[in-house]
Each structure stands twice: as structure tokens, then as C-alpha cells.
Amino acid sequence: MAEHVLNAEGLNCPLPIIKAKKALKSVPQGEILEVRSTDPGSVADFAAFCNQTGNELVSSTTEGNVYTFQIKHN
């Protein structure tokens, strides 16, 4: 169970990304933020977000309609 969790379920583009950016501010470097989303577009978007911002996408998993991302704050 991750220590820092952001529930972005029910939100559509670009809100999961914006909220993740905000949430990362309070996550110490090296620690992991877990984001849960129901927006299918967020799978590609979180990969792009991490690629651009230099944070590490540790995992990206799908369970039913819920997408979970583990983002390491770099």
C-alpha cells in the first residue's frame, strides 16, 4: 500500500495530470505517488507526463475500469 495516494477516479483529461502534478509537490523525492484513474486516456498521458517531467513511471496497471500508476518523484 503506497503512502501517497491520489484518487482521480471519475475525472477526465487533463484533470488527473493536473492533480498528480499538484500531489507530487507534497511527496518527498524518491518516494512513490500512487494515482488511480478511470480515464482510459490517462494510460498514455501518464507515460508522457513522466517522460516529460523526469519522474519515473514505476508501474502502470489496469484492473477493470481502474488504471493505477506508481510514480516515483525524482
Binding site: L11, N12, C13, P14, I17, I18, K21, D45, Q52, T53
Partner: protein, 170 residues
């Protein structure tokens, strides 16, 4: 070599500018979505609001959608899609109905309101410039607009855009 010299500033931050020319509810989305997403991705963003896009800087937003000029517009309805003929807004009440339908869809699908996106843009330090000429032309006052914006003209925009990695006109 030249590229290295050009990017010799401390960061390798990317930048984007958007010229915002349309102020209906539907057309307000692309610039604000792109601006907030880009700012969240550490891209420096400048939005230049001109012509019908300028009222998007007003404190009070009362945005409407019109089917006019959107010939491909289709609204989901009972599992189908209903075309919105270009002549429909001639009929009184049709634009109001389309606006209500759009606002209901926005809420139902978890899409942010333009007010929320604009607020997020401000929090993410998106720079917003209102067009002076448009203010003069359509008699808009800075007092009616949100705080923290700049007012400028074409040269102000261009000075910024010439250094941007992405320049969009919406």
C-alpha cells in the same frame, strides 16, 4: 553547436504559446486543456487572448455554445448521435438548449469546467496576456477581468512566441 549555444540557459525547460481567438463554451476547452496539461508537464505557457477569446479573461464567465459554424457537431442522444444543423440557432432557444446539453454532458463525464481549468492555469503559473487592441475595439475594461493578467499587443506576443518550442493558434 548552435543548438547548444541557444539552449545555454540554466534549464532545458520547454515553452508554448497559444493564441486564443474563440470564446464559446466548446472552443474555450482546447486552449485551457492544453495550457494546463503543458504547465503540469513543466512547460512554460503563455496564452494570448484576442478577439472573441478575450472575454475568457472576464471575472464572470457566462459561456454558451452555438451550433453555428460547427457543421460536424453531433450530440449523443439515447445511444445515437443527433446532428445539429447550422441553421438551428436561428430558432429561438436552440442555442440555450445546446448549451444546457453540453453543460450536462461536461458534468456527467467528469470534464472540468472552464472556470476550474482557468483557476488551475493560474495556480500553475500560466502567463495570460489580454489584447489591448481588442479591449479598445469591443470596449472591454481591465477592471472586469481577473487579476494577474498582462495587457499587450502583437509585438508583446511575438517577442514571447519567437522563443517558444510550440506556438498554437486556436
Amino acid at each position: 553547436m548552435l543548438d547548444e549555444a541557444k539552449s545555454g540557459d540554466m534549464s532545458n525547460a520547454k515553452s508554448m504559446s497559444i493564441i486564443v481567438t474563440k470564446g464559446t463554451l466548446d472552443w474555450a476547452y482546447p486552449p485551457f486543456i492544453l495550457a494546463t496539461a503543458a504547465a503540469a508537464m513543466d512547460i512554460d505557457v503563455t496564452m494570448f487572448f484576442t478577439f472573441y477569446g478575450l472575454p475568457l479573461l472576464n471575472k464572470n464567465l457566462d459561456l454558451k455554445v452555438s451550433t453555428l459554424g460547427n457543421p460536424a457537431m453531433k450530440m449523443p442522444m439515447m445511444g445515437m448521435h443527433m446532428a445539429m444543423p447550422n441553421l438551428a440557432p436561428m430558432i429561438p432557444g436552440v442555442d440555450r438548449m445546446t448549451t444546457t446539453m453540453m453543460k450536462n454532458l461536461i458534468k456527467k463525464k467528469g470534464v472540468a469546467s472552464i472556470e476550474d481549468l482557468r483557476e488551475a492555469a493560474i495556480e500553475l503559473d500560466v502567463k495570460m496576456i489580454g489584447c489591448q487592441m481588442t479591449m479598445d475595439l469591443f470596449e472591454f475594461n481591465k477592471e472586469d477581468m481577473i487579476d494577474g493578467i498582462d495587457i499587450g499587443g502583437a509585438a508583446t506576443y511575438l517577442e514571447n512566441a519567437v522563443n517558444c518550442d510550440i506556438n498554437l493558434y486556436i
